[in-house]
């Protein structure tokens, strides 16, 4: 048997059920590895070892009872540890959002995805690092310090779900929850060499997710394999009376057997994602991965998403506009620390000015401007119209093909500090992930190679709304035929 912390979720489920492994052994193995590697990586903001071991102990009792009378149904993920991005509420566990303005916030309720996974039996190891309020592409915007990329600690893990991606890549957790508003699951998955899903908008409840850009926010998951991410997704998905944007559609049963045939599947490759300036090794690895899909039976054809280049300015008007409204609630009255002021207004201004970080203030300012009288039509209004054009691009392409294959980011993980002085250059890193959020379509990122520096390269498959199963089947077939997803950093 491989090291406990190298087991996939699927392998660990088997071992736990057979009794070859206890949840306490598995949880302890992860906690020990976290203790050893966390100082170098800083993937977590909060760790709860005692609570995790208590959950594991309860899971072991239930597993033991089940083995003596296996007719009882067993929660599907009973005893499996996971990590949770620190923008999702877990009852009675500190939730900071990577911000000083929530440094002592302890939610009194569970996010719906957390509640569903707890019902499914998971053990929560802790909360992972994130750019403040999920605003960033590197986790450098965390008020608690950047996470390091496990493949090279001089490089960023991507963001904003950088702590979740690094924890999975470094085997500090077998899987983790993340969120994706403009690429925040897919880009760190790509930078860290793991598999990550951004679901369709409306597929997974955001109740208990701290809001950033409400027309774009999605809750996704990261793991080592498409199979593991699918196992989480089917439990997270489905309508929720507490999130009126969730649609009441059946959640597909995703059956990923040993078959790797993609016969008949039509894959589009959009020219607009192979732009000047893309790292040649990224283009090479993605094109090679598309060839692998073709060798498995897929029919590959070029397609066009002509408004791709406008996704960046559209996103960086719409998301900040929504953020400026969502973050109005942080005023030093109901939660968070408070700076004193003689009047209510002083209290608001002082608390927000002092406790929000530079990027959060930048986006609040940008959004406030885009929504302000006299500029609304030119900025926010125009962005919403161009968003329609971007969505129509995808609608038209999905008339021709079943999914689209593209790089996740123009380059592999950049160096810590490389973009921190120039926000616009950081935003440009998101150019390939923003369109899926603006169109609301699902995207699945997974590793397809490494560059000369030994940093992972990711590809994303984007599909029609509510067709996540096609993405999982394709990535699973690819992972049956290749072994990039099995590579681990030397730590």
């Amino acid at each position: 048997m491989p090291a406990l912390t190298d087991l996939t979720l699927t392998q660990a489920i088997q071992a736990l059920r057979k009794g070859n492994l206890s949840s306490q052994e598995l949880t302890r193995a992860y906690l020990e590895r976290i203790e050893r590697l966390e100082p170098a990586l800083h993937a977590f903001l909060t760790l709860v070892p005692e609570r995790a071991l208590a959950q594991a102990k309860a899971a072991d009792r239930r597993l033991k009872a089940w083995r003596s009378s296996p007719s009882e149904p067993l929660p599907p993920l009973l005893g499996l540890p996971i990590a949770v991005k620190d923008v999702l509420c877990v009852k009675d566990m500190r939730c900071t959002c990577g911000s000083r303005i929530l440094e002592n916030f302890v939610p009194p309720f569970n996010a719906t995805v957390v509640e569903r996974l707890l019902q499914a039996g998971v053990v929560i190891l802790g909360k992972t690092n994130t750019d403040e309020y999920a605003m960033g592409s590197s986790t450098e915007n965390s008020a608690y310090g950047a996470t390091r990329n496990p493949w090279n600690t001089e490089h960023v893990p991507g963001g904003s779900s950088g702590g979740s991606a690094a924890s999975v890549a470094a085997s500090l957790a077998p899987a983790a929850l993340g969120t994706d508003t403009g690429g925040s699951v897919r880009q760190p998955a790509s930078f860290c060499g793991v598999t990550g899903l951004k679901p369709t908008y409306g597929r997974v409840s955001r109740y208990g997710l701290v809001a950033y850009g409400s027309s774009l926010d999605t809750v996704g998951a990261l793991g080592r394999t498409a199979e593991d991410v699918a196992a989480l997704f089917v439990l997270m998905a489905g309508s929720d009376p507490r999130d009126a944007t969730t649609l009441d559609l059946p959640v597909p049963k995703i059956d990923l057997g040993p078959s790797t045939s993609l016969t008949g599947l039509r894959v589009g490759v959009p020219d607009e994602y192979f732009i000047t300036g893309i790292q040649p090794e990224v283009e090479g690895a993605v094109r090679h991965a598309v060839d692998v899909l073709a060798s498995l039976g897929a029919m590959v054809q070029p397609v066009s998403l002509p408004h791709t280049e406008y996704a960046l300015p559209v996103y960086y008007l719409i998301a900040p506009a929504e953020a400026s409204a969502n973050l109005a609630r942080y005023d030093g009255v109901r939660y968070g620390p408070r700076l004193s002021g003689e009047t209510m207004w002083d209290l608001f201004f002082n608390t927000r000015g002092e406790k929000f970080g530079a990027e959060v203030k930048r986006r609040i300012m940008l959004g406030t401007y885009a929504l302000s009288a006299g500029y609304y039509d030119a900025y926010y209004g125009q962005a919403q119209k161009v968003r329609t054009l971007i969505k129509r691009d995808f609608d038209a392409v999905f008339e021709q093909v079943d999914m689209v294959a593209a790089p996740v980011a123009p380059s592999t993980a950049f160096r810590i500090g490389e973009h921190t002085g120039d926000p616009l250059s950081m935003y440009l890193e998101d150019v390939f992930t923003l369109p899926a959020n603006l169109a609301g379509v699902p995207g699945l990122a997974f590793p397809v190679g490494f560059d000369r520096q030994g940093l992972p390269i990711g590809m994303q498959l984007m599909g029609p709304p509510f067709r996540e199963e096609i993405l999982f089947q394709s990535a699973h077939a690819y992972q049956q035929a290749t072994d990039w997803h099995l590579r681990r950093p030397n730590l």
Binding site: T245, P313, R334, K385, V386, P423
Partner: protein
């Protein structure tokens, strides 16, 4: 430069953010660069194109209007920086 220092101050006022003089200058430069970049959206003719505020098909989620257990007063107040008599405490609003 799209923005002046006065405009930056006006935006910060609307957003309820106390900024230092250095922050105001930095945001003037950075926000101007971002807005200059965003100006390329004006290249597109969007006459007749409806805005997208949500990608979802129009739908209304209905549920029975039934009383449900909610959060307790202790749970609602426990994260507040200052409370008094089961209420959030704030500075005086009226003289």
């Amino acid at each position: 430069m799209t923005l002046t220092l006065e405009e930056v101050e006006h935006i910060a006022e609307l957003a309820r953010l106390r900024l230092t003089p250095e922050e105001k200058e930095r945001y003037r430069d950075q926000l101007s660069a971002i807005l200059d970049y965003a100006a390329r959206l004006q290249e597109l003719d969007t006459s007749g194109i409806p805005p997208t505020s949500s990608v979802l098909p129009p739908h209304t989620m209905l549920r029975p209007d039934l009383p449900q257990p909610g959060l307790t007063l202790e749970e609602l107040l426990r994260n507040a920086p200052e409370t008094e008599a089961d209420q959030f405490r704030v500075p005086p609003i009226l003289e």
